[in-house]
């Protein structure tokens, strides 16, 4: 392998390395966002559950028919 071939290979590898690093960073970020969505969904479910109990106690009886 000549020095020229090494530099050409290095130039193309650098481009793909940049892209790989970028994709890894974005994948890590998406993973964090996914965790945050799960946390917020759990928080929302918990809040809805507690709100639900309150509304059942406050429900008024009405005549039907």
């Amino acid at each position: 392998v000549t020095a020229e071939e090494k530099y050409v290979a290095a130039a193309y590898l650098v481009v793909f390395l940049f892209l790989l690093v970028y994709v890894v960073i974005m994948a890590a970020k998406l993973s964090r966002l996914g965790r945050e969505v799960s946390e917020l969904a759990a928080l929302a479910r918990k809040r809805r559950g507690s709100d639900g109990r309150v509304s059942e106690t406050e429900r008024e009886e009405v005549e039907v028919g």
Binding site: T2, A3, E4, E5, Y7, V8, A10, A11, Y12, V14, V15, F18, L19, Y22, M26, K29, L30, L33, E36, V37, L40, L43, A44, R47
Partner: protein, 213 residues
């Protein structure tokens, strides 16, 4: 589409485009120049969005400008690294300070690197958006200067392929270059959309967290 174009461009570079009198190192041209042009396009698009932010006060323009400039800096860094590798094999130097094209591109790159220092040193809000938009607009002036420097300079060592009489290369080389340019622009657009979507999702989640807290 982006993956296909990148694969096609790589295949054309190594199996279709001929090796000219400059030797094998000329193969770097097919990625180096499209990456540099894509960096210019990203900076230009970022400046356009900055202008739209200042003009129409669109709620999304500030974030779009920021993401486009971020892409420009990534492509700018790739331009500098691939260019240095090409310079080492072609001119036996990693960097030539006497070449206006190189120095002006470095100035442009550093100018937009400083954009992030400005952005992250000011509290988020309308003031930050306005400051960043004005800064991004100032930077766009450097793009034509950087592009034209090589064509206006009296003495230079940077090769000029595109002149007023058209591209100075064979048809197969020009076709390969066009595919590589399309691949890089497509890649930049994909990364732009991807990053923009993640930034918007991040902002919406932050807002939701504040509402639920």
């Amino acid at each position: 589409l982006t993956t296909g174009l990148l694969g096609l461009a790589t295949a054309l570079v190594f199996f279709y485009a001929p090796v000219d009198e400059d030797g094998l190192n000329q193969k770097i041209f097919y990625f180096h120049v499209p990456i540099a042009l894509t960096a210019y396009a990203c900076f230009g698009f970022g400046a356009l969005k900055a202008f739209l932010h200042l003009w129409k006060r669109g709620p999304r323009a500030d974030l779009e400008s920021y993401v486009a400039i971020h892409q420009g800096v990534i492509f700018g860094a790739m331009t500098l690294v691939t260019g240095s590798l090409w310079a080492k094999v072609r001119w036996t130097h990693w960097w030539v300070w006497g070449d206006q094209q190189l120095v002006l591109f470095l100035v442009l790159f550093l100018f937009y690197c400083a954009y992030f220092m400005l952005r992250f040193s000011v509290e988020p809000g309308p003031q930050r958006a306005n400051l960043c938009a004005v800064y991004a607009l100032f930077g766009v002036v450097l793009i034509p200067v950087s592009f034209l420097a090589i064509r206006l300079a009296q003495s230079y060592i940077h090769p000029t392929v595109f002149t007023s009489s058209g591209p100075q290369m064979a048809g197969s080389q020009f076709a390969t270059f066009c595919v590589a340019l399309a691949a890089m622009l497509s890649l930049a657009y994909f990364l732009y959309r991807f990053e923009l979507a993640s930034k918007r999702l991040d902002a919406e989640l932050k807002e939701l967290r504040e509402h639920l807290a």
